[in-house]
Symmetry: C2
């Protein structure tokens, strides 16, 4: 998509992304090696009754879906941050996650007219329609430079 | 650490974590395949003058440092979310990142006395003392269950 194509209240859906146990384990072994993310045996006796994915892994999956559905081929070049990241339900191996991205606001910077600013809400839902991620992202678009890539 | 060891205003430092180009590329190829994260040639001509890491990769590195320095061996079992995630400067291959985690608040849930709630600020700094990540995390601790793991 191009920056000009994002419209307030627009919904962009993507997925499903199938979460494999091997990927849950390898992400968590690298970045979040707590027992409920990396030890299936201990996790089966724990509060969630089995392995759950790191919350950061869930965020990374949402990013992948947002890139595939919207950012690839856009003028996107960076993000200053995100807010209000919530993980209301755990993600488990075998889950199939869908992204629902809703455009909240889109504007050009007053001080830098070539800078496009997109605010959007990302929600991930599993195959039972349980929400597993909810956040507000800000994405920046370079509307004047030659560095836009397809 | 145990939940009882976290004290308001306490600072926990960890790292450095050396960010390797291969890791920047493999994380981004999986989760954030935008050109400035995955194509060193294009990125060298772009706004940042070279590859930069996905912001989610930066978050994942902070998590790893927080686990190693504080959460491993604690009663930590989950997080409801984080807020105010900012990426003020890019992370580049070769960077060496330090975590400074500052305890903001620690309390037991009124409705669930066995539930410990920790609010803490995580900042990552690179080898030039530039801040590359700033967020507020909430971590939950199970203070009554047998499921605590070392």
């Amino acid at each position: 998509m191009r920056f000009a194509e994002f419209q307030v209240e627009q919904r962009i859906v993507a997925g499903p992304y199938e979460v494999l146990e091997d990927e849950v384990l390898s992400f968590a072994q690298a970045y979040d090696p707590q027992w409920f993310h990396v030890d299936a045996g201990l996790a089966s006796q724990g509060r969630f009754g089995g392995l759950i994915a790191s919350g950061w892994h869930t965020c990374a999956i949402a990013m992948r879906l947002a890139v595939d559905a919207a950012l690839q081929g856009s003028e996107s070049f960076a993000s200053p941050g995100v807010s209000r990241v919530r993980w209301p339900c755990p993600v488990r191996p075998g889950d199939r996650l869908r992204l629902v991205a809703t455009v909240l606001a889109t504007r050009r910077s007053r001080s830098q007219p070539d800078l496009g600013i997109l605010s959007w809400r990302w929600q991930l839902f599993n195959q039972c329609d349980q929400e597993v991620l909810d956040l507000e992202a800000t994405s920046l678009f370079d509307l004047g430079s030659k560095e836009t890539r397809s």
